[in-house]
Amino acid sequence: MMFRSIRWTLQLWHAAILALALISFAAALYVSISRSWFSQVDREIEGAARVLGSRPLGPPSFGRGGRGFRGGGGGGGGGGGFSADARAGNAGTREGFGGLGRDGGGGPSDGGGPRDGGGPGGSRRSMADELPFVFRLAVPELEQFPSGGPGFFALMNDRAADVPRDVLSRVGQDQRDQPYFLIWSRDGDMLHSSAPLPQVQPWTVQFSKPFGPAVFRWNPDDGMLREVIVPGPFESKVLVGRSVARERQEVRKLAWLFVFVGAGVMAIGLAGGWLLSTRAIRPINAITATARTISASDLSQRIDLQETKSELGVLAQTLNETFERLDTAFQRQVQFTADASHELRTPLTVIHSHAELALSKDRTAEEYRKTLEACLRASKRMKSLVESLLVLARADARRLELNPVRFDLKTVAEESVHMVEPMAVENQIKVESSLVPVEITADRTRISQLITNLLSNAIRYNRPGGGVKLAVTREDGQAIVTVADTGVGIAEEDQKHVFERFFRADKARSREAGGSGLGLAICQSIVEAHGGTIAFTSKANGGTTFVVRLPV
């Protein structure tokens, strides 16, 4: 039950969406960062490999060698190295390695300068500074550095001041990275290698070009080792590798960071969501509480609109409007019941009291007769009232039974006029009728009741010497019954109540005339049951005209 509440549903969805968003974000970030790190590693080892590959292979074991290698000024290294090339050409001592450098062996060569070789001199140095790292190696002055230092990596260190720090530090400085290299000859013999060298499987890669793209792999024996192979001079192959354990560790740390931060964000998000849903649901609870106290017996309460704003305010207002309508409907119902009971109680009291009085002692035959007459009058009134109520109740339940037959409305209208004739004479009212034959399909009895009701109302609410006009016409495929009187009319404030049950504009007059206050309500029910309309126009003291339209 609790978990089916809107609040829990919201919270669960909120959690799911939040988790999904966090995981995707963290995953994207993780992949991106780790990729960037590993591609950085690749760049570093490739850079180192290129440097190695660009060295002349003259001395059998570099790192141990005596003189520094001189760079062949040849083909220029890397892309866009022509200026460097030119420089090298100008300054270089072309000592026969030109061939090596011609098509791109990455011309520069290293002086295997040891650390203590010192940096280049100031002016040379400044010139070298303008060059990219790789080409700088080709600057002939550099060759002058003594060779035979700790080797390649020391050489790299030697250049530390000039090259981007991270490249050096990654490949050369951090011992944990365990950098290593290996140079195979064209025939696959190992020409050079670094001193610490892990198990390295031979790697057969065919380079189509001497300066072809580097190929990367993970060391097949140790997944922690990343290796690259690039073509070296004389179709040699240079492999440089190093451990990525540090990166792996960093990546793992990053993953854990993401997990913890994600969990924190999730917790904050869920707590915030819970607070928000609590706040959002509070007015709903208020509405519920109010709505619960509103019952059929007490519809007077309304939801406080001040506490509920926005969409909930609209909801509350809608509910309030509904309560208003219900309230009105219930009050009308209560009023109707009270009216009906009142109307029934009065004749009942007459019967009861007359009988009680008659029985209280011996009466003459005349007295008994009068008593019985009074009882009869009262019971007739009750009978007509009960019948009227029954018609209305059936109409309300949409069970007003109609016996539709085809008949001429004119005939029925004539009968109705005949029926009210005595009443008209008694009230000194002149009834005129202008009737044309209109065949309609309807319940003959009900239509007769309708017309009689309207006529007797027109006579009842008239003044002596007044007139009533009844007309039956046909218009636009409808039968139209018009009953117009010259009577007192209906006051404007009463007009909207005219069809209400037990409504009587003038209680005295209608009671004296024997009306129950249900006549027009019944007329309306009959007309509506036939799918017609009833309307009226009235002016105070200007007479009233009722117009009934019935489908033919």
Partner: protein
């Protein structure tokens, strides 16, 4: 005792007034609120029986107008409306008692007797004056243990004087209370009734204050808190 019945239903007006007359009351009738108010303001009634739902002026308005004019006449309201708010409103607007239609005539009569008694400051149905005892519930007068046979008019006279014992009751007041509007008896009929009662209950029972009226005052004051505590209300 003279009563006014205001009721718009003619058959009910007839039966109530006839029943009250048969019980010895002088009864005036009115068929709507306006007429009822007019009559109630114009004559001294011992009680008014008033319907609430009436044309022209409803019962609430009649009571209000009546009370505004300073009248303290006991009003018994008759109505077909039995919802609590209606009853409360009726009593609050100045009605003294309430009876819902349909009602028993016997109850109406009992409630009227109680109203009249209380308005005269007598709580008991039995009023004792020396050896004479008036049972207003049974409408009987006893002398000692002996039931004294009185006509309805004679009884009403005794009752009126008994309720107002110790007070001077004028001849016109007796006339007003004993005869209704349709009664065109001569006012000296009061003297005839007084002399008839004296014949039956003893010469000293009713004393004459010449030129002013009559008084019954032969008993200890406040002797009416009698043995029988009536409560038919």
């Amino acid at each position: 005792m003279r009563l006014l019945v205001v009721e718009d239903e003619p058959d009910l007006l007839t039966v109530i007034s006839q029943s009250l007359r048969e019980d010895g009351y002088a009864v005036d009738t009115a068929a709507d609120g306006e007429e009822g108010l007019f009559k109630a303001q114009g004559a001294a009634y011992d009680a008014v029986v008033l319907d609430l739902m009436m044309p022209r002026m409803d019962g609430f308005a009649v009571i209000k107008e009546l009370r505004k004019g300073g009248s303290a006449v006991p009003v018994l309201v008759l109505t077909a409306r039995d919802a609590l708010p209606d009853r409360v409103k009726g009593l609050d607007s100045g009605a003294d008692d309430y009876l819902t239609k349909p009602f028993e005539l016997a109850e109406l009569l009992a409630r009227l007797r109680a109203l009249i008694r209380r308005s005269a400051g007598k709580a008991s149905a039995i009023i004792e004056m020396g050896d004479v005892r008036v049972d207003t519930a049974a409408r009987m007068v006893y002398q000692g243990e002996q039931n004294v046979a009185l006509t309805a008019r004679e009884y009403s006279l005794v009752e009126l004087l008994a309720i107002h014992r110790g007070e001077l009751v004028s001849r016109s007041m007796i006339y007003d209370h004993l005869f209704d509007e349709e009664d065109d008896s001569l006012s000296n009929l009061v003297d005839v009734h007084v002399s008839n009662v004296r014949k039956k209950l003893g010469k000293g029972f009713i004393q004459t204050r010449r030129g002013q009226g009559y008084v019954i005052d032969n008993g200890p004051p406040a002797a009416d808190g009698g043995a029988e505590d009536d409560d038919d209300v």
